[in-house]
Amino acid sequence: MTSFMILLLVVIFALSTGYYWIRDLQRNPKQDSRSPSDLKH
């Protein structure tokens, strides 16, 4: 595979992952975040 195609694939993956990551952050802002009470256990 040519290096252009690999670069294209990497760029598309990075952009789409970034897009869906931001969208997920907006929809589930509290997911993956731990409160201090969780850390006490």
Partner: protein
């Protein structure tokens, strides 16, 4: 149990990456076939550099300009369909036989871009596998219609 954000995002971004990559590659190849044209009778030194199979395939495909345009249009239409989320399943269905044909031509005529076409075929197969529930619904509906007749 809820998936972590990373897995959740990857489940969306990987199919999107495949769709856009497949679409862009076919769009490039399809547009090149329309203008200025990808095929044609290669020069006399092409046999030594690209091989006999390449010369034979390019001569065959380039014999008819209309045939080349039709191949290009098929690639462009399936590329547009696979890139639009709403028509992605239909696009994958249209895309699959074209990319299988391209891969077979690349292998049997030793064109030289077997790796790219193989990756594209695998990506299209994964997209069809991810859409298997919708595709199976088509078969299920037809079975019901057949039984009602």
């Amino acid at each position: 149990m809820k998936h972590s954000r990373f897995i959740r995002v990857l489940k969306q971004s990987v199919p999107t990456t495949f769709r856009l990559f497949l679409g862009i590659v076919f769009l490039i190849y399809g547009l090149v076939k329309l203008y200025p044209g990808q095929f044609g009778v290669p020069g006399p030194d092409a046999v030594t550099t690209n091989g006999e199979g390449f010369v034979m395939a390019w001569t065959f495909f380039g014999y008819s300009r209309i045939y080349e345009i039709m191949i290009g249009l098929g690639e462009i239409i399936s590329a547009l369909l696979i890139m639009i989320p709403r028509t992605a399943t239909l696009g994958a269905i249209c895309y699959f036989p074209i990319v299988i044909n391209v891969t077979m031509v690349n292998y049997v005529f030793e064109i030289g871009v077997q790796d790219l076409s193989t990756v594209m075929t695998i990506m299209c197969m994964i997209l069809l596998w991810l859409d298997r529930d919708r595709l199976l619904l088509l078969l299920e509906k037809r079975e019901k219609e057949e039984t009602s007749l």
